[in-house]
Amino acid sequence: MIKTENLHKKFGKLEVLKGIDLNIHPGEVVVLVGVSGSGKSTLLRCLNFLEKAQEGNIYIDGRKIDRKKDNLPKVREEVGMVFQHFNLFPHKTVLENIIEAPMIVKKMDKPKAEQLARELLAKVGLSDKADVYPNKLSGGQKQRVAIARALAMEPKALLFDEPTSALDPELVGEVLQVMQDLANEGMTMVVVTHEMKFAREVASRIIMLDEGRIIENADPDTFFNHSSNERTRQFLEMVNVK
């Protein structure tokens, strides 16, 4: 579904990704973990070309994407993204946020887009919020709208960039629940998160990054209980799940 080969990313002189080989299969939920600065968010942002990797290749659905020749908006239709700070459009209502891209990008007609939006709102449990502006929502509600907005483009995969890190603790659960439901439906997901409980219960694979390299690529049981990697064990002690 999504594959990278020898991905390198530098910010000025700082090399953040030092050759990432990654292969994400359809229906997988891959959780990226690592200490801050390990490159996990940068890697995620490279996957939908919000960041430009200087070296290496990215394949979507087996097709190599050329940054110059390919139509990046078209590629991004296939790979949706949910952000840490939600990034809802403040000048649009919840419904308008969701129908925007289907109408503008896919030229879907308004009634159809609205019907789709209402179905998605029902799915994330926010049917009653269709006509309010984002500033009237709690953080958890905002993130659920953001997920609905991403789903409205019917992407083949969804990227989550620390989706619960900006939330008050009591609001984390409702967002994780929506994500778990998506995972159960077979959505391909790549998730950067510090929620180890989610990683343990929902992930099909956990990938640990350290200083721009993949140092662990394992199923949750192996990762949490049988890792032989010293850095992984240190990390798990640090996040307190051992």
Binding site: P73, N87, F89, E100, A101, N135, A150
Partner: protein, 222 residues
């Protein structure tokens, strides 16, 4: 000085018909200049933030030249410059000069406002598959406009007052008329007091309208 007040009142009563007409000219020139200024402002703001070196350099030169020279010089320059090429009334020459002048300041206001929109808005829009144009038009610009409104209002007020400078090319707007009245009546103090009041009232009305508009925009949102 009650006698001065009486004289001011007499000047006002004697001149109000002419001044109301002149006020209309002032408003027209200001309105035309603002329309030109907003169009130029948007174009040059987009050029300035564009990745093309040529476009951003052109915009930079325009902004630097306009901000670096006095408006009165620009009015004279454009008046003699344009009217030597095409036949143009001094009213239109003045309005265009004022518009071109404003374009530079409004370009900077828009540039700041566009860059003031949270980076995440652009990323969210791109991540949904929208292209750069759609992102600018549908997501960034509407939000930038809201950020730009207070400084734009300020610029509009400056333009209204700066329009007095077109009197140098013989346009009979408020200040031009006041100048003539002051000379012919030998009452400069009173006349300029009266014309000052006209400007003040116009600015106050405009400020009020702007505030209503801002309140309307802010209801329910942001």
């Amino acid at each position: 000085m009650p006698e001065t007040l009486v004289t001011i009142y007499e000047v006002f009563m004697r001149t109000y018909e002419g001044f109301l007409k002149a006020a209309l000219v002032t408003l027209k020139i200001t309105a035309i200049a603002l329309v030109i200024g907003i169009v130029l402002g948007i174009v040059f703001a987009l050029m300035r933030i564009s990745k093309s070196k040529i476009l951003s350099t052109i915009a930079n030169i325009y902004i630097s030249v306009i901000r670096g020279t006095p408006l009165i010089v620009q009015i004279m320059f454009l008046y003699y410059g344009i009217t030597s090429i095409i036949v143009l009334s001094n009213f239109w020459a003045g309005a265009i000069a004022l518009g071109v002048h404003n374009g530079a300041y409004i370009a900077e206001i828009f540039r700041g406002a566009i860059q003031g929109v949270d980076r995440g808005q652009r990323e969210a829009s791109l991540a949904l598959g929208m292209n750069k144009n759609q992102t600018m038009r549908r997501i960034i610009f509407p939000q930038a406009l809201r950020i730009a409104i207070p400084p734009l209002g300020n610029q509009f007020i400056i333009t209204l007052k700066d329009s007095s400078l077109v009197y140098v090319i013989g346009v009979t707007e408020l200040f031009g008329l006041a100048n003539r009245e002051a000379a012919s009546s030998f009452l400069p103090f009173e006349t300029f007091m009266v014309v000052g009041l006209y400007y003040l009232v116009l600015v106050l009305i405009f400020t009020g309208l702007l505030r209503l508009y801002e309140n309307k925009l802010n209801v329910d949102k942001l």
